[in-house]
Amino acid sequence: MSMSLRHFFKHFPYTLSRYLTHPPYQYAAPLSLLSTLSFRNYEPTNHSTPSPLFTKKFSISSSVYTSLDTPSSPAYLSVRIRCQKHLIDDFSEALLCFGASSTSVDEEDGCESSDEIFIDSIFPESEDVDTCISCAVDSIGLKEIPSYEVKIGDQYNWIQKTQESFHPVKVTEGLWIVPEWRTPPMIKKSHEDTSTCTHISESSTFASSLQDGEATNIILNPGLAFGTGEHPTTMLCLLLLQGLIKGGELFLDYGTGSGILAIAAIKFGAALSVGVDIDPQAITSASHNAAVNNIGPDKLKLVLVPDNTRPPSKDEREDGLKNDHNSYQTGAIAEIDKYDVVIANILLNPLLELADDIVSHAKPGAVVGISGILSEQLSHIIDRYSTLLEGISVSQMDDWACVSGTKTNPADS
């Protein structure tokens, strides 16, 4: 098999045959060569354990991620393959079967009339690209391997591109979520000032919010945790929260993600917010966001809890130890029967499994909000929570729903 592969090497424009010995090809500027060379000398023996050198690499650059402990996302290989148009579907499926993580095909604009098209495929770093492509080619019955080039994928590029798509979001009158790297909407009494915010498309509704006076701006850098404020479930929860927090409450954000709900609660006037999550990345993002919004550890606490639904993996235990320097973090698990408002915005299965746990943290008579569920999953949630909550009401936005109710007093049941 390897003999037949030899004469296909002449098809490559260039190859990274042994990427361990060559420095990686980076097409985004910020990284200094020194840091990449030092990374490359490190022999990755086990690709699943996080590489400590990755965090150093990110701290040297000038991108938005400087202050965040970025996750050690493994490098990936990006392969660009020529292919004939009528074979794209079969070839993409075959590549996925044989080890590619993903394939993407750009749409032709119509000006190119050639028969060939490029497939961009992403492989995990440890994958043998050559074998995979030759197996895929065999399985669809192509006679010869098409030409392709392999590059080491650039972590920055895709992280930056997704950040670019994050614009200030208006949740409701007087409440905006603003990315850290954009200027918040300038709230001034004069209407001529809308010129500073031309990048916001709803300038007419924005003008009306100017008349409200001070709008609450929540500055956010979601990092890789969930909660930018744009998603319908986040919006539903924020609206619920706005109605509930009158001032001085204790709030529990179960599954805090970027910390957006916990921060919003403080801004609305809660006395204390506690955010719990099973993902260390979420805790990091949330503490960063709290700092950016000038909320101190006395008002906002974050707890990394073990994932009780799965056996802990080696990685999680190691990361849990590393996070001890985080001043927002407390070791204490959130207490039972303490909180005036509890909101859990996660997913259907965890919500069903952890129902008792979620409700146990609320005081009797306190409000519990549940979201992250599709409208079609509503009946399951209502069934499960009907024994725990009373006065259940549902709000919906697009395909998503939010359920809220008050915890039954033990004396009543």
Binding site: P71, S73, P74, Y76, S78, S92, E93, L96, C97, S101, S102, T103, S104, V105, D106, E107, D120, I122, P124, G153, N157, W158, I159, K161, T162, E164, S165, P222, L224, F226, G227, T228, E230, H231, T233, L347, L348, N349, G372, I373, L374, Q377
Partner: protein
């Protein structure tokens, strides 16, 4: 068959992306991250949406997702059930198909197994109008190409 209204309001497509993601475990990290990040799609929205829609599958089943990214940075996606080969391997309890299909038998399955797999596959968007018998036949064909023998009944 697209309606006239759909054709008129059809957004220009930027790219078609195919991915394999474990059910309920989409994260913004690779493989999802780079693949979608390239086209400036909202990663978090996709992850949340995908995780919510795959809640009914067993966690970590590899789902095939096809995402259509439009030029205005919006996207649509369809989730397909895992590939037939994955199901066959799981049911037969083997890691990979036989190295020499037709000569070396990797495992044996009964028609009942095939029927169960066909029922799951029928809920897939593109299989819905196919009679169950045709789906079974195509599964048997795949099984043969992997070196899995199909018998009427297992002892």
């Amino acid at each position: 068959m697209a309606t006239l209204k759909e054709i008129l309001t059809r957004r220009p497509v930027a790219a078609t992306i195919r991915l394999t993601v474990p059910a309920g475990a989409a994260r913004p990290a690779p493989p999802v991250g780079p693949a979608l990040g390239q086209y400036r799609l909202n990663l978090m929205a996709f992850c949340k949406d995908f995780n919510a829609r795959t809640q009914k599958y067993k966690p970590d089943t590899p789902m095939a997702v096809t995402i259509t990214a439009f030029k205005d940075n919006t996207f649509e996606f369809t989730v397909k059930s895992p590939s037939v080969t994955w199901y066959l391997k799981k049911v037969a309890g083997i890691e990979s198909g036989s190295g020499r299909p037709g000569h070396v038998v990797a495992s044996t399955l009964s028609l009942k197994h095939i029927y169960e797999i066909a029922k799951v596959k029928q809920s897939d968007p593109y299989c819905q109008y196919m009679p169950l018998e045709s789906i079974c036949k195509s599964i048997i064909g795949t099984a043969n190409s992997m070196g899995i023998k199909v018998v009427k009944e297992l002892d």
